[in-house]
């Protein structure tokens, strides 16, 4: 069993807890870089999709897992990023500019929707983002001169430094680099005063406010950053699907994003990655076992959304820490062997927190 003996503040806020972390994450980084060289086109493409969802997952993790706000409109931000990027690209703007522009514009949209609604409780943000998502979806359909409406929109091939990012490998590396950037930003936000303010807001708004944290400002900043990161994911998503249709960005996609966060495990960046893996691989898994399921379950039309709903319900009821929690428990079992006890991972009893004045 490893005991961390911290002797100074730098050690306390450092990203890697110990040398082992550095080694394993370095190895993971290396493996991810060589995967396109050894694996088939299909797997590389799927992993690229996982990376894009992981970017959105990390973005939403900052919001849900660390600030305690929920958004049911992140599909709209993904869509805004996708359309801004593609429309600019088709007007001849280089990819090196359209990608940050997509992120920036989406962040501004996020701030615009967040500032008015964040004065109220977190519930209002959920409802407002739900409404915003459906408005944006309709705009994508009706604003045909820009988005092409239901006819769709063919996304031009991006190129950076003269290299064409076409095919699965190009998207893979582009999303991998953006994912690393997003994780780097998220991790650094979390160990800065802003990250601590966000966690304080999540744990208790009243006590955060009495510590001098400007609630509306930090919430709006968290929301804008989250939206901006999702915009980056959207720009890559446009290249991943190659053909934008407005009905791709509906409520179901937003629910999938939130599923990433819940299934992965609230309050952990690793959780967002686990969750993205789960959400992207579940449909593939269904496609494989579809014909072998009894009673024709596999051919039911609403199978996928209902499975997402079921998984969400089961996770919230029985495993609120998600996959990351399971992983931590497994690790604890090994490091503490043979001292793991039933009580070690018992959940603390929690009580309802009221938002009312009584």
């Amino acid at each position: 069993m490893r005991y961390l003996f911290r002797t100074d503040y730098r050690q306390d806020i450092s990203v890697a807890r110990h040398g082992g972390d550095l080694f394993w994450y370095g190895l993971l980084l290396f493996v991810m870089f060589v995967i396109p060289l050894v694996m088939g086109e299909f797997y590389v493409g799927e992993l690229g999709g996982v990376f894009i969802f992981a970017i959105a997952g990390v973005a939403l993790m900052l919001l849900v897992g660390y600030t305690g706000l929920i958004s049911l409109g992140h599909a709209a931000f993904l869509g805004i990023g996708a359309y801004v990027n593609s429309v600019l690209l088709s007007r001849g703007v280089p990819f090196a500019i359209t990608l940050p522009a997509a992120g920036l514009f989406t962040a501004i949209c996020g701030a615009a929707i967040g500032l008015p609604t964040l004065r109220m409780s977190g519930l209002y943000l959920a409802i407002a983002t739900l409404a915003f998502g459906s408005i944006v979806g309709t705009v994508f359909q009706k604003w045909e001169s820009v988005t092409g409406g239901f006819d769709g929109f063919a996304v031009p091939t991006p190129s950076i430094l003269g290299i064409n990012l076409d095919g699965a490998t190009g998207i893979y590396y582009a999303s991998f680099v953006v994912l690393l950037f997003v994780i780097w930003v998220a991790v650094n936000i979390l160990r800065s005063p802003m990250g601590r303010a966000m966690v304080a807001i999540r744990d208790s708004e009243v006590s955060a406010q009495s510590m001098g944290i400007h609630l509306a400002r930090y919430k709006a900043m968290a929301f804008a950053i989250s939206a901006g990161m999702t915009g980056l994911a959207g720009a890559l998503f446009a290249h991943y699907v190659r053909f934008l249709a407005p009905d791709a960005f509906d409520v179901l996609l937003s629910v999938q994003f939130v599923t990433i966060v819940f299934v992965g495990g609230l309050g952990s960046i690793q959780g967002a990655i686990f969750g993205a893996l789960f959400v992207r691989l579940l449909p593939q898994f269904i496609a494989i076992v579809r014909d072998d399921l009894p009673f024709g379950i596999g051919r039911l039309p609403g199978l996928e959304p209902s499975l997402f709903g079921l998984v969400l319900v089961l996770v919230i009821l029985f495993q609120p820490d998600g996959i990351n929690g399971l992983w931590q428990k497994a690790k604890h079992w090994f490091t503490a062997y043979p001292f793991k006890r039933q009580q070690s991972s018992r959940r603390q009893k929690s009580y309802a927190k009221s938002e009312r004045l009584r």
Binding site: L69, A128, F132, S306, G309, K353
Partner: protein, 293 residues
């Protein structure tokens, strides 16, 4: 005269649609006032209520009134069980966990209804289908009038229930102060489950009243999103506010559909909702004044 009659007709149609939104919003508000949870599956419970009524009336061949009453009772029992078995377990978890839980339940209900009743739209005969009442220039569908009358009657019943009966007063007490209600010997948990039952029953009423106007299908639960606009306009804690908000949303939506180009009608309720959150987030009938430390 022609214009005035048309305007009036639009308003009546809007008010009828608005009553449905108001009834769904009423379900949100009842549950929110009692447990501070928001039930995102309320629209889907309405859908289930509609389907149960369809089974009672079409398959079992019951009389419309009897079938409707039975369907309301069955849906209410479903609401009770839902709270007692599932939602009671998440008390104490963060608010957004409850949001996601009810959203997930909504997806499951939709799939369950799809398996049980199929994905086609269905309808059943009601005493109000395809009948009209003419008042001067004004021609009104009895189906729309039945929605408005039904909503008013239901509200009267709920008002009497909450103010005159022991159980209703106990419910008010438990919503206002849980702890004090416990001290007074009110079985708060059972009362909360009963509130879920009432809210599911109200949703079933909405589904049954809606059935002559629009068919029952698996995706009718998406009306719940419009009902959020109604609840927010009303201030999310106020029962009359939810109904007033519903009528406002319904009428604005009808007028937008008539006077604005196509495509605007679908987003009207959402635009109204966002505008309300920006201009007057506490709603028309604000109740929340501050936070407990």
């Amino acid at each position: 005269m022609e214009d005035a009659a048309r305007l009036l007709q639009l308003v009546v149609n809007g008010a009828a649609a608005g009553c449905i939104y108001g009834l769904i919003a009423l379900g949100f508000v009842l549950i929110y006032k009692a447990t501070e949870m928001v039930n995102f599956a309320q629209g889907d419970i309405m859908m289930l209520g509609g389907f149960v009524a369809y089974t009672m009336i079409t398959h079992f061949g019951l009389n419309y009134w009897l079938g409707a009453l039975l369907a309301i009772a069955v849906t209410a029992a479903f609401g009770f069980v839902l709270d007692a078995l599932i939602l009671r377990r998440v008390i104490g978890q963060p608010q957004f966990a409850v949001v996601m839980l009810t959203l997930g339940l909504g997806f499951i209900f939709r799939a369950g209804a799809g398996i049980g009743w199929g994905y086609d739209s269905v309808g059943f005969n009601t005493p109000f289908t395809n009948k009209t009442v003419a008042i001067g220039h004004l021609v009104l569908g009895e189906d729309n009038l039945s929605i408005i009358v039904g909503t008013v009657l239901l509200c009267a019943v709920l008002y009497v229930f909450f103010s005159k009966t022991r159980l209703g007063v106990a419910m008010q007490a438990s919503s206002q102060n849980q702890l004090a209600a416990y001290y007074m010997g009110i079985p708060v948990r059972t009362v909360f489950s009963l509130i879920w039952a009432i809210s599911a029953g109200v949703a079933a009423v909405a589904g049954i009243l809606l059935s002559p106007v629009s068919m029952i299908d698996v995706n009718m639960g998406f009306l719940g999103i419009k009902a959020f606009a109604a609840a927010v306009i009303g201030g999310f804690g106020s029962i009359p506010g939810a109904l007033v908000g519903g009528v406002i949303v319904g009428v604005v939506e009808q007028l937008a559909g008539y006077y604005l180009p196509a495509g605007f009608q679908e987003v009207t309720s959402n635009v109204v909702l966002l505008a309300m959150l920006i201009l007057r987030p506490q709603g028309l009938f604000a109740e929340l004044t501050g936070k407990r430390v």
